[in-house]
Each structure stands twice: as structure tokens, then as C-alpha cells.
Amino acid sequence: MGSNLTVNYAEVIAMILFVTGFANLLLQKNLIKKIIGFNIMDSSIYLFLAVKGYITGRTVPIVVDNVTSVEAYINPIPAGLVLTGIVVSVSVSALMLSLTIRLYRRYQTLNLDEISTRLKKEGM
């Protein structure tokens, strides 16, 4: 198992980043830090996916010099999936940031626990 971890070091780093982002998203009280955690988590999945497409010794999948054999290029599909994922991640970040702006304008704090306490006191 040890040799697997060192050979696939990129996937290991991606998983460590995933858990870091996950913990930040869940456990941080500050809204901006939650959003940063979410971005770290999603970026780590894209790192994982991009590494899965790489094949040693081959180059980017753009045809140059009429070399059309499949053996010369890496797998292009994960790049497409990563692009789709980045678009999704950007939309969700924009949505969460706009929610943060609205909450800040109302309560002048970025701390989610404090906002909950104030809402309970308002007694809506």
C-alpha cells in the first residue's frame, strides 16, 4: 500500500485537499471561509480528475504536425469534465457570495452562529 501512495502522490494530495475543504465548509463559522473551503474542495476534485487523464510520455490532445494517432496524446475527456465542473463551481460560488452580501447588509456580521442567535432573539 505504501508504494501505491507514493506512486499516486497527486491523487493523495487531491484527497488531502478535499478533506481540508470539506472540514472548512462544514465547521467554519465565518461565511467567507466556508466559501473558500467549498472552492478548495471542488478544486481538489478537478485536480484528481485532471491527473486521471494524464498518461506518461504523451502530450496535450491538440493535433499538430498531422500526428493523428491516438498513442501520441493524453485522454481529452477529463479535461472536458473539469471544464464543466469549473463552470458549476463558479456559479455556486457566485450564488453563495451574493447570499453572504445580503446577510452582511442585514446583520453586519459574517458569523453564521451569531446570525442564528439574533434570528432566534427576533423570534420570527
Binding site: 465548509l25 471542488d42 447570499l99 446570525i115 420570527m124
Partner: protein, 497 residues
């Protein structure tokens, strides 16, 4: 048959384009466009369902000019067409039932944006129902999340924005886990189309290669979808989100959003992993256990609530537990029971939310139980509808809830060790449901002297009354004519894999 094959594609595209089109139209026109689009898609899905029922086999529709395994596909069978038609029906009734509250609670300039969100939500539900490609499913899961968040926060008060933030946090955790599972599955099988993945997975299990990654993938995808559906330990966001948003949003969220994800989970079980391989892994036991726990804890939390909308929201937690218990049973009959309960819960939960708002409106807007006493006499149609919904939830015969519980109990009898657990928890949760629902029904039907609140009669709110009568009819239809519907579900599940 040829023209009918285009219907899934037309439905998804029509719903998706109605979104941006509504963003440039004024509020009143957007409302009409939205209602027309939903009715059109409902009609098309009914035609598709009829023709598929007659022909008896599902078909695959190639998206773009690339064949499998390189292109994208959508697939339609009896079950998919039936679910699409049902989702459209419930969504149309939910939007129409909450229109008056939409005018009161949302700023005038944002009305057309609400219909943008409803259109996107409908397109994502249809795509989740029809898709045959795993990554497309992920993209539409995200579209579903974003439009659900918009639906929660369009009514702007502090509670809804905080509820939207909490919803997004839990939902994003679920999405990330699903994405990671899909990436790992793509890595070990090399395919993204569900049928190709299934062949690959069957070959892998037979050959004994990659057992741990496959287990991990199954676990990640199942737990990710369960988090998004608000299964028991992950339901903290649910009461705030359903309890404080505008009533059409609450109805759409509670009845349709979770059903889309559950349908995707059933698709993954049947078409990606394979039913036998999925039941052999331990993941199904985890779903079963949390389903049982959710049934009990959801009802216990609902009993302690003093706010009618939060009580109905907690009851949703219990009902999602029922569905996961059915999936967790691991038998064909359990799946049939779960799918029937999806239909029954969707129609009943919408009914409860829309009738509850009628009751609170005649009690000076208060949602606590004390002012709600006797409100059924002030708004007779809402009281009747709420009573019908409560009886259905408890499981009284003649209504759809009874058929669901009957199907669950019948499915449990064929299990060996889990039968006792299922039957005991079914019984206990029925009693708990009766405690809080019947208590509310008795309270709203207790006559009050010196009633100074306004009364609302049938002619004051015609659209609202028609919507409630339609919901009640749907519920009674599901309860009384359940045999052909269960037969359709069984036939659909048979051609599902």
C-alpha cells in the same frame, strides 16, 4: 411512434428555454408562459406514457450525432414518462396554489425571476428523469441545487437567507461527494454512459478486480444523494428552508426536489451498478438503518413543534425515511413501494403546505397553534384539504398514504431478518404521525366563540379552491385506483435496467 420519440428531448428543451425567456418578460406574461409550458410538457408526457405502455419497451434517444459510447443519450420508458407527467402535474398545482402569496411576499419586480427559477427546476427534474449519462446527471443535480436555493431565498427575510445558506452548505457537501464518486467510477470503467458503465462493472465484479474502489464509489454516490435528500442525520436545514419560504417554493421543494434525487439514486442502482451488486455491498444496510431512524426521529421532532409549517417540514423528514427504508430493503417489491410512496408523498405534502397557508391566512397570519383553533370553520376548503392530507399521512384507507404503508408492509414480509424491524417501526411511526397530525386536525376543527377573524369563502379565492380540490382528487385517485398505478410502476421498473 417516430414523432413520439422526440418528446423527452422537447420536454427538457422547452422547460430549459422557458427559463431565460421568462427573465425578459413582465411578471403577468411570465406567469402565463410558465403555466402554458408546464401544461404542454404534462400533455406530451401523457402521450409518451400511453404510447410506451402500448409498445411495452423503452427507447434510447441519441443526443447529437455521436453514437454510444462516445455521445450523450437520453432514455425513456414507462417509469420515466410516468414520473415526468406526475412531476409536471404537482408543479403546476403548486405554482398555481401559491400565486396569491407570491404577490404578497415577493417584490413586484422579481415575479418574472421566480418563473425563471421554476422553469429551470422543471428542466433539471426532467433531465434527471430521462438522462442516460452520469455526468449529465451531475450537471443537472447542480442546476437543481441552484434553482432550489433561489426558490428558498426569493422571499427576503432574515430567516430565508440563513436557511438558504445552510441549505447550500449541506447540498454542496453532497454534490462534492457525488462528483468524486462519478470521477472514480469514470476512472475505473472508462465510460460515462450508464449502460456501458454497467457492463464494465459486471465484468469487473465477475473478474474480481477493483473491489475497494467500486465499494467506495457506491458509498460516495449513495451518501452524497442521501445528504441532498435530507435523510435522517443530514436534515438540519430542512425545517427552516420549508418553514419560512413562500408557499409555492415550500410545496415544490418538499414534494419534487428530493424526489428527483431519489429517482437518480434508483437509476444508479438499476442502471449503473446493477441491482444484485448494489444489494451485496453493505451500503444498502446503511440506507435502511438511517431510513428507519429518520422515520422515528422526524416524527418525534414534529410532535415538539409549535409552528404548523415547521411541523409539516419535520414530517417530510419522516417520509423521506420511509422511501429510503423501502430502497434499503433490497428487493424488487421494496422499490415498487418506494416509487409509489414518492408519488403519494409528492401529492400529499404539497397539499398540506398549500392548505396550511389558507388556514394561517384566516388566523391573522400567525402560524402557532393557539390562533389556529377553529380556523377550518373560517376557511372551509383549506380545512377540508388539510384534513384529507393529514388522514393520508396517517394512513387511513381511501387515501394514498394507506396504500403506501400497505405496500411497505407487504414488501417487508418477504425479508428474513429485517421484517420485524420494518413492521415495528412502521407501526410506531404511524402512531407518532397520528399524534401530531390528528392533534392539529382536531384543533382546527374546534369551534371558537367570538370569532373576530375574517372568513374566506369559496368565491373569494376561486383558483386556490380549484387547486386544493385537484390535489384532494389526486390523493383519493391514488388511494382508490392504486392497482393500475402499481402495475404501471412494476412494468416500468421491469424495463428500467
Amino acid at each position: 411512434m417516430d414523432m413520439v420519440r422526440n418528446i423527452p428531448f422537447f420536454s427538457i428543451m422547452l422547460a430549459m428555454f422557458s427559463g431565460p425567456v421568462c427573465s425578459v418578460l413582465p411578471g403577468k406574461v411570465a406567469r402565463v408562459v410558465n403555466a402554458v409550458v408546464i401544461t404542454l410538457i404534462m400533455g406530451m408526457s401523457a402521450v409518451l406514457l400511453y404510447s410506451l405502455n402500448v409498445s411495452g419497451e423503452s427507447f434510447v434517444f441519441m443526443m447529437g450525432h455521436f453514437p454510444a459510447p462516445w455521445g450523450n443519450e437520453i432514455r425513456a420508458g414507462v417509469l420515466e414518462a410516468g414520473m415526468a407527467m406526475f412531476f409536471c402535474m404537482v408543479m403546476l398545482l403548486s405554482v398555481l396554489g401559491g400565486i396569491k402569496k407570491l404577490f404578497d411576499e415577493v417584490v413586484e419586480s422579481k415575479h418574472n425571476l421566480y418563473y425563471v427559477l421554476v422553469g429551470l427546476m422543471l428542466s433539471s427534474l426532467l433531465a434527471l428523469v430521462y438522462t442516460n449519462d452520469l455526468f449529465t446527471a451531475y450537471v443537472f443535480v447542480e442546476i437543481n441545487t441552484i434553482s432550489a436555493c433561489g426558490l428558498i431565498m426569493i422571499r427576503e427575510n432574515g430567516r430565508t437567507i440563513e436557511a438558504a445558506v445552510r441549505y447550500m452548505v449541506m447540498s454542496l457537501i453532497g454534490s462534492a461527494m457525488i462528483l468524486l464518486g462519478i470521477c472514480m467510477l469514470y476512472d475505473i470503467t472508462g465510460h460515462l454512459l450508464m449502460s456501458n458503465i454497467k457492463e464494465s462493472v459486471t465484468a469487473m465484479t465477475a473478474g474480481g478486480s477493483y473491489p475497494e474502489p467500486l465499494l467506495f464509489t457506491i458509498a460516495l454516490m449513495s451518501v452524497g444523494l442521501a445528504i441532498k435528500c435530507a435523510l435522517f442525520p443530514f436534515h438540519a436545514w430542512l425545517p427552516d428552508a420549508y418553514g419560512y419560504s413562500t408557499v409555492s417554493s415550500a410545496a415544490i421543494l418538499s414534494s419534487l426536489v428530493s424526489k428527483g434525487y431519489i429517482f437518480l439514486l434508483i437509476k444508479i442502482i438499476y442502471r449503473v451498478i446493477g441491482f444484485d451488486i448494489y444489494t451485496d455491498s453493505g451500503v444498502i444496510d446503511v440506507l435502511f438503518f438511517f431510513g428507519l431512524a429518520g422515520m422515528i426521529f422526524g416524527s418525534v421532532s414534529a410532535i415538539r413543534e409549535n409552528d404548523i409549517r415547521r411541523m409539516i417540514a419535520y414530517s417530510s423528514v419522516a417520509q423521506i425515511g420511509y422511501i429510503f427504508m423501502g430502497i434499503g430493503m433490497g428487493t424488487e417489491f421494496g422499490m415498487v413501494a418506494s416509487v409509489f410512496h414518492m408519488l403519494s408523498h409528492a401529492s400529499t405534502k404539497s397539499l398540506l403546505f398549500i392548505s396550511a397557508i389558507g388556514l394561517t391566512d384566516v388566523s391573522d397570519g400567525s402560524r402557532r397553534f393557539e390562533p389556529l383553533t377553529g380556523s377550518a370553520y373560517r376557511n372551509r376548503i383549506a380545512g377540508l384539504a388539510f384534513a384529507v392530507g393529514s388522514l393520508s399521512m396517517v394512513g387511513v384507507p381511501l387515501f394514498s398514504g394507506f396504500i403506501s404503508k400497505l405496500l411497505f408492509a407487504e414488501a417487508a414480509v418477504s425479508l428474513r431478518y429485517r421484517m420485524i424491524a420494518v413492521l415495528v417501526v412502521l407501526g410506531v411511526s404511524t402512531i407518532l404521525n397520528a399524534i401530531y397530525f390528528m392533534k392539529t386536525v382536531i384543533r382546527i376543527y374546534t369551534p371558537v366563540e367570538n370569532d373576530h377573524y375574517p372568513h374566506v369563502y369559496l368565491k373569494d379565492a376561486p383558483l386556490y379552491s380549484i387547486v386544493l380540490m385537484a390535489f384532494v382528487t389526486l390523493n383519493v385517485l391514488l388511494g382508490v385506483m392504486s392497482d393500475p398505478i402499481v402495475a404501471l410502476i412494476r412494468k416500468g421498473l421491469g424495463m428500467f435496467s
